[in-house]
């Protein structure tokens, strides 16, 4: 019989190898895109014969990408902020209050998690046409608010659950009114949850594609829609260069969020001891 320690060591190596292969699968596309972005030739080839930075310049100068980026910033700023206010207040109400239709409203606002984005997009496209709203930024922002609300609700709700209410009781017993307790005790304590909820909402909104494809027009198209249209028409590495910038930017944001907010806690995957 094989001794137990050897057996466990072999098992450990097999496990490590499996995880490394899976991590390689996760990282592979990003790595390949990075190589492709530095290829000097306009046609894809591996490995690239000559290297250059020129596609980064092209991507930054391409008008549709620039327009999409700024449109995306407008939509993201509005939708994540509105979602934070609406979702933050409602999460507080769910946690503390009793009111009619509570679980019905909560269920409706959580449901975009399982309703396909193309259905949500089509719904708002038809609704906008029915109420005579033009295909401007308003439709896009409303659609994005609905799509990111579940994430904000969850993020704020989790921090509310972890909040020690005795601070609020102490403030109230010392004579602070409800508004004062809320602004000077509850809000500061909730700040990490609010920031992470807002950050989640902003990243998701900036990247949202399928529903945006339905509700945006040529004038309001966001960056992912512009990128999609580009991929369908052109094959040069500009898109690869833009993807690299996208990946680096997003990874930096996530690392930042992890360092300051603790992603494990936000995602609820901290090991319990």
């Amino acid at each position: 019989m094989i001794p137990r320690s050897t057996y466990q060591r072999v098992l450990g190596w097999v496990g490590l190898l499996t995880v490394l292969v899976i991590v390689a699968f996760l990282v592979l596309p990003a790595a390949v895109v990075t190589i492709a972005a530095f290829n000097d030739k306009p046609i894809l080839s591996f490995p690239p014969q000559t290297w250059s930075w020129r596609w980064f310049g092209r991507a930054l100068a391409y008008e549709d990408f620039r327009q999409g980026f700024f449109n995306g910033l407008i939509v993201t700023a509005w939708s994540s902020t509105i979602a934070l206010c609406v979702g933050g207040m409602f999460a507080f109400a769910i946690d503390r209050y009793k009111f009619p239709l509570k679980s019905a409203i909560e269920g409706i606002l959580i449901s975009p998690l399982v309703i396909p984005h193309f259905t949500v997009g089509l719904g708002f496209l038809i609704l906008a046409a029915q109420v005579g709203l033009s295909r401007g930024f308003a439709v896009v922002v409303i659609c994005h608010v609905i799509l990111v609300l579940p994430f904000v609700l969850r993020s704020v709700y989790v921090s509310l659950r972890n909040l020690d209410q005795s601070y609020e009781h102490a403030a109230a017993s010392l004579g602070a009114g409800p508004l004062r307790v809320l602004t000077t005790v509850t809000l500061p304590l909730l700040l990490p949850g609010l920031v992470s909820g807002w950050l989640f909402a902003a990243i998701l909104s900036f990247n949202e594609f399928t529903a945006s494809l339905f509700v945006t027009s040529q004038r309001t198209q966001t960056l992912p829609v512009a990128m999609y249209n580009y991929v369908r028409e052109f094959a040069d590495p500009s898109m690869a260069a833009l993807s690299v910038m996208y990946i680096v930017g997003t990874a930096a944001l996530i690392a930042f969020a992890n360092a300051f907010l603790g992603l494990g806690k936000v995602l609820n995957i901290e090991q319990s001891h």
Partner: protein, 283 residues
């Protein structure tokens, strides 16, 4: 004293959002029951003909393909995601954990388009895999990976993997380690501990992850559109085509409604099948 001081102010905006969303979904439902008037953006009168059209072989085929692709993606994602989730929860060093977490979470926020484009470069005829295999002399001419169900499923697994890992890890991290320690101290080997203690206790996370992976794949549009290239069609692609190529919004809406019913059915069955698991208390 008022026990619920901000009730109205705090619930009004959310209620408004819920009403808006319900209105949008009712709009889809309403359109699904209207006749298509070719050449016009306005729908005709009320009819059930759209739902009868769903049974045409062309459309029934797309539904079948969609379910097969979703099911395959969900199962493969589960198999690939489990070891990673396990590692994420059990790794002790904080730095290694953080790196692993960022690698897992970043793709979640990259968006479908960037990831799909990356897979086009990996799978294409001049792409990374074919170039690598050809330069190694393993194949003479490029393998056809693009425009195949295989390529679509590989890319979709990559898209759903982060969310699966997060859900599995959430389940795994809330299992009390004392259970496995007790099994170990009673003489069970690592594989036995895993199969008889950890795996059964993590099943609620498995159900949650698989359900979400299925729903997400169902929602995918860019991946089947660009990697499937018309040869792998999912409901999402058909809805877009009908809407924006032939302006047949009523039938696009019908497909959405049927899609929702199908998702609800599959997710309901999954919930039902996992009912015995509710007995497992996870702290």
């Amino acid at each position: 004293m008022n026990q619920q001081p901000f009730l109205r102010i705090f619930t009004a905006p959310a209620t408004l959002c819920a009403v808006g969303f319900v209105a949008a979904m009712v709009a889809v439902l309403q359109y699904s029951l209207r006749a298509y008037v070719p050449g016009s953006l306005d729908p005709g009168g009320f009819t059930l003909a759209n739902f009868a059209d769903l049974l045409k072989p062309l459309y029934a085929r797309v539904f079948l393909d969609t379910v097969v692709v979703c099911a395959m993606t969900a199962v493969v994602t589960l198999i690939v995601g489990y070891p990673l989730a396990y590692a994420l929860v059990r790794v002790e060093q904080p730095i290694l954990r953080s790196i692993l977490l960022v690698i897992v979470v970043t793709p979640l926020f990259l968006g479908e388009v960037v990831r799909t484009y990356a897979w086009i470069i990996v799978l294409g005829n001049n792409g990374f895999i074919n170039s690598l295999l050809m330069s190694l002399g393993l194949i003479g001419k490029p393998l056809q990976l693009m425009f195949t169900p295989f390529g679509v499923v590989v890319a979709l697994v990559h898209v759903t993997l982060p969310v699966m890992v997060i859900m599995l890890a959430a389940g795994l991290s809330h299992i009390d380690r004392d259970y496995s320690r007790a099994a170990e101290s009673l003489g069970a080997g690592p594989i036995r501990v895993f199969l008889t203690v950890t795996l059964p206790l993590s099943l609620p996370g498995v159900v949650a992850g698989t359900t979400t992976a299925f729903a997400w794949t169902f929602s995918a549009f860019a991946t089947p559109q660009l990697i499937g290239g018309g040869r792998v069609n999912m409901i999402s692609n058909l809805v877009y085509q009908l809407g924006f190529s032939s302006f047949n919004f009523p039938f696009a809406a019908t497909l959405c409604v049927a899609g929702l019913a199908l998702t609800a059915l599959v997710l309901g069955l999954l919930q039902l099948a996992s009912r015995p698991l509710r007995k497992i208390e996870v702290h």
